[in-house]
Symmetry: C5
Subunit: 304 residues, 5 copies
């Protein structure tokens, strides 16, 4: 994620980092070259009776804009939902530990429970990003738990099971009444909601045909555009063609980035920073002496 | 569902499998032939004083694009909701079994309960896809239960009733307090929400008149389009006409696929893979020795 | 509701039943006649210096399409919400009876309770459709209950009160603990949510001014359209004018149908079929011997 | 609120009452006069080299239509949410009283509690409409309660506090177990949700800048429109200009009405009727002898 | 926030304060100057064969309007959600204190608890606005609590922990049963939801690339617009160009303001007023003698 710099509106026009411009620059440059070629070739192919006008492209442009707007909406919703799920994880983690601490203030294993919670967040993050997990999780889990977690098909879910067992032991020992066990279990269920929600977003993309259809129509539109513009605009064709292409292609490219919000690209969610904030919060709630430092944006205003 | 291949943006333009192109190819080809016929016949029917211009088609095109955008939205919402319901089933299944296992760790019939849960997911999947169920369910249910389930009008609901009875027996025997029974029952209610939600999507389509009206206007628009384009574009008519038709017809066709998300077409939900993942998870949570293999996409990147 | 027939895309263009075409045919035919009149009168009124061009109608057409899209959305949301409410009734009914049956398996009056639940669904359906209720409800309610229900201003709510009393009696007799009574009461509250939600949709239409404004602009637009088209299209005016009018008027008419989803028109909800399915399910859950037959679509694919 | 009359589609075009036409008639008439002035002055200002064409207004018109559609959506959402909140109040009121009556069937002060509930609805209605409250509330509240309520900054909230105390007294006296007290308290919390939701809608308008920007662009657009139309349309300018202006101005005016849904204008919510229905329902649930008459629409089909 | 003044529709056109006009005036003025320069230079650069027409800008304008509509929607949703979260805080605060007061009417430390609740609201407000907190919080918190809160990374969350401990002490002392402790804890969880929701909105902006892409296309569009308009409109170019630019730039600027709803700009949320209302309500519920005065809008109708 790019943390928005506070810049003058005029300077924003020239910002390079964080826009999708770096990704689509080649495509826009090809469009520019094509426009120049079209200007040069115009006399030749006009003589063949080939001509294009702007009017049908107006219909096409509006239709593509509407459908692109729809796809942007769909992809942005996934991004927003993903962020909300991690917000809910923050809520459930804090509430769970607050209830545990208030209900079992003298339990000698509270710091074990806090580490289980932290491990859950990191484990979920690394599963979603397909990163290796064992080293990181070894800092929070006992060897026996680590082994059980790593051998599971769904490691985060296994950590939930271990947390549930931690609470169930207290219930069986009589430190938790059924009603409070039920209440704490609901917090675990909230974390289960986050887990399955993130899995859903990661495993089920926007139907691939949407991507294909819009990709295809956007690029065919941009390829044919210079031929239609050249009759009216002549020397100005490359500039107008690149501006229109930029509008359509950049939104197509951005929608693709947002569609998979758990990656590490410019416009993806800062899961590292969120996990870090959660870890700091939980450790402070347990009044632990060593608190990790806060993750800050790098010099390109980027958080991962 | 097509698992999105990681391909260069240029290659994506030529992807065939997974787009709806195979479905609508004939219609686009007919449009191409019609455009050629229109070019040939132009001198003849112009002499009759018949002429069409692009301007009114611009109004029509924008209006159809807006309404098509609306219908796409409605159909895509059904797809998203269907996927969310199956995500909720995953959540409820894991939470239910976690609570059962933590609360009744020594119950000798836990694996029976796990199989009831798995049977529910498979039964729901097969009901939605109108597939035969008895053979598959026989692997998870006792003969008595299987008979009761198969003779019911709503087999998945009957499995919920059996699960409720399984829990109620434990309550009557004193192994479950009322509060924990209430808590587990809420998980069954969550599964009931999924069941009725899926039935709703499967049984209540988007109002048929939407489909009819858009279908009709899209095709009439595409049929009349070459007549309007030919005056300006002449030889280029077929290419522009097919491109515009492709934009409209492909989105109409895709909306139709997404409207019924429980089928086995390219853009439908991968219920087989979801049931498989749920089965693996639940069996691992019960530490069972035999875990089925994971379902993977076929060589066309498709999951069913 | 029309159950969608599986038909070839080409045949769908000619489907008559279930589209709103039957309703708006007269209006389209008037538009056709007007277009012909306009062609005939063109020389006369051109000589008066009266002329219309397509360009301003393009602005108007797009604006109306956007606002019509908005109204369609609003009306379709009501339809979807109404369907979801009935889905929630299905969920609450099954969950309520499952909990009652699991908790009070030996209660001799279970079939009375099942009939109260069925009566609630039928009573709600008939209230929403303003149909006579006494005869139908007499099949499910005891005479004393029937009298109390029929004399109430909100009969469905009175049935909820009776169900609550049925449960409260068991609580007072010691067969239901407070926690289970509370749980069952929550199911009644879910049914209360459905009841008030349906009343809200039935009693509060989309603000009437939306209907008026769009109705007026759509029809004035369609009336003035032939005058604007005739200069460019001449003999083709009637065809293009009717096609554009069809697009706008049919969506206006469909929005009107969906706005009140509880009626018995083509595109309304099949409340009869839903109540029937609920009745079958509940009776089967109680293992009753006599189960009513399923309601099936008629030969026009219609369910009411 | 206008209860929609069942009228022929042709007559609907001429309905006056309930549309926003009465409000904006002057503005449309000014637009008409301006158009005539423009026709008269055309030769003079053309000679000065001043000219306007429709094309740039096409861009502007579409942009304004899109933004107006957005604002309509925002305002309509407020209307819908306000209606849903009052629907939730109906749900919470009925559920609360049903639970109270079933749990405490022999309590001698049930009718006091019913009146507290009715007072809450009326008090909320009158607060939202900034109407005097003391007289109306005196019919439902004891003098001591009335005094406490009227001296509070948030009178409806004070009634909730009194209801909570009513229940708490029964808990302390041992007539309500903690679990049932908790359950009833949740109903009070539901009513608190309605209260704060209504306050939010009433106190936080759509950001004022939206209103300003759209107001300004819509009116400037309508003022400049005749100048652009006159070159093409000449004598037809006033009719087309007024039709386009009507489309934009009426939706702008309607959005303004819906933005504050608690007023007493044509398109506002019928809070009087909703409170009346709630009162009848609650009194009938308590089998009280005197039930007030139902509020019916006046001869203009209007409910307040 | 600007409290909407009740003004005549005609006067609204000239309102200055509260619109974003003050912010974008320079940009519009530059656009005006550019238009005049374009008129002057027209003969010179036409002779070079450079020309622009309106048609391609029509495609671009519609596309930008659609994407701007999308971004406005996204930013406005953040504003609405932020307001709803503060509404939920109001709900949770009142419900929490009502339950505490009804359950523990004789507790001598109720006013301590009320101040903890008020401190939470102020602390959240000041965290979101990055304002200094210690002085303000010292009025509500004991020195020990203040120290713990100020040394925490997430001070509001620490206040929740203290409130939880306050309740847990009563539970351990036997004044709160487990079920009532669970109920009150749920209210704290509701406040935790608000806290994490506000943090999410404050820390995760709309993907920066959206802002960049739209900013860039809007300004390039407005810069090139006069060149396209001048051929048709000549002397009228500056007026039409500024009107179109105003429509696009003002909505772009407003979206930017709404994107971060917790600031103190014209269109941001009135957090001071909301906290003040909450403080008055809570103190009145505890019948405290000294109630602070209500915050009222300043003479520009503005609340902060």
């Amino acid at each position: 994620m790019i943390v928005r710099p506070q810049q003058h509106w005029l300077r924003l026009i020239f910002v390079w980092h964080g826009s999708v411009l770096s990704k689509i620059f080649t495509r826009l440059f090809l469009n520019f070259l094509l426009s120049i070629a079209v200007i040069v070739m115009l006399p030749w192919y006009s003589s063949l009776g080939i001509k294009l006008t702007v009017a049908p492209f107006s219909i096409l442009g509006v239709a593509i804009a509407i459908f692109l707007g729809f796809r942007n909406n769909a992809c942005y919703s996934r991004y927003v939902e993903a962020r909300q799920l991690w917000g809910q994880l923050m809520i459930a983690s804090r509430s769970l530990f607050r209830e545990v601490k208030n209900t079992l203030p003298d339990d000698p294993h509270l710091s074990e429970f806090v580490r289980l919670q932290i491990a859950f967040a990191h484990c979920l993050r690394m599963t979603l990003r397909k990163q290796p997990q064992a080293d990181q999780l070894a800092r929070y889990l006992s060897p026996a738990h680590l082994k059980a977690v790593m051998s599971s098909n769904s490691p985060s879910n296994r950590i939930l099971l271990i947390m549930g067992e931690w609470l169930a032991v207290r219930r069986r020992e009589g430190h938790l009444s059924d009603i409070l066990f039920h209440s704490l279990n609901n917090r675990l269920n909230d974390m289960s909601v986050v887990l399955a929600g993130c899995e859903r977003i990661a495993n089920t993309p926007v139907p691939f045909a949407y991507t294909l259809i819009l990709h295809r129509t956007v690029y065919l539109f941009c390829i044919m555009l210079p031929f239609a513009l050249v009759v009216d605009l002549h020397y100005m064709t490359p500039f107008v063609s690149v501006l229109i292409s930029y509008t359509f292609i950049s939104l197509d490219a951005l929608a693709e980035e947002l569609e998979e919000p758990f990656g590490t690209e410019n416009n993806d969610l800062p899961l590292d920073a969120i996990c870090n904030a959660m870890e700091i919060d939980l450790l402070q709630m347990n009044d632990e002496p060593e608190i990790p430092a806060r993750v800050l944006p790098d010099r390109h205003y980027q958080l991962t």
